[in-house]
């Protein structure tokens, strides 16, 4: 199996609210206003928003109804950039789980939870290499 993730789909209960949240963060999609799924190009992978009930059915799982063991993260170039994204997320309607602070692993990070309950860590990790295109290389 190729060592890759090409698509992350977030199940949402209110697609318009979820889409508006990510668009308020500056994200852009090519989806039409009435589309039932919204795909965002994120580097050379895709993040999708889709009805949570249909996603559960399509994924052949029962929905436990809350968080289920997956957290996304965005690595950035500095602690200042981390704080700026957390403030942008808060202004767009996210709950701030924890504000930016020094992390036990030696970097700086905070957490926001999107309106659908999906958490994002926003982090600066001095041990990882941030590519010119915003990707991450370990080590």
């Amino acid at each position: 199996m190729r060592q890759r993730v090409t698509l992350v789909t977030l199940g949402v209960r209110d697609l318009q609210r979820a889409r508006a949240f990510y668009e308020a963060l500056g994200w852009q999609s090519g989806a039409g206003p009435d589309d039932h799924v919204v795909f965002f190009q994120t580097g050379d992978m895709v993040l999708g928003l889709w009805d949570r009930g249909r996603l559960a059915e399509d994924s052949c799982v029962e929905d436990a109804g809350g968080w289920g063991g997956v957290t996304l993260a965005l690595n950035l170039e500095s602690s200042t950039a981390v704080d700026a994204v957390l403030e942008q997320a808060r202004a767009a309607g996210a709950r701030i789980g924890r504000p930016g602070s020094t992390a036990f692993w030696g970097g700086y990070s905070g957490v926001f939870i999107d309106p659908e309950g999906h958490p994002w860590e926003v982090a600066h990790n001095p041990h990882w290499t941030l590519t010119s295109e915003g990707g991450i290389k370990l080590g």
Copy 2:
């Protein structure tokens, strides 16, 4: 906020089992045998495995205990490649949620659920462009 995901962390209850599953799929990490977190370089992002309880705490969320609205996917070049990965996952201990079949959106896909309950769709989507490095470009 940069339109990117740089890290996807999967919470796991048995790290050695989860790690062994992904390694049985051919994935490689630089983690030591006793490391508490296992990072896999996946393109220019990273997939991590970490204790689910610690991930919930770090993510500032309550753990609902099952699936929580996130599904990963791997897009491949053909339906034959999809079937091969599903068979590889089954042999490595995954539950097959649904075998490969023609999808309502015009492609071909199946689903496996990893030993920790995280579902993966494995798909061939003729509407998306697969890059030479295994990434995806919409449209």
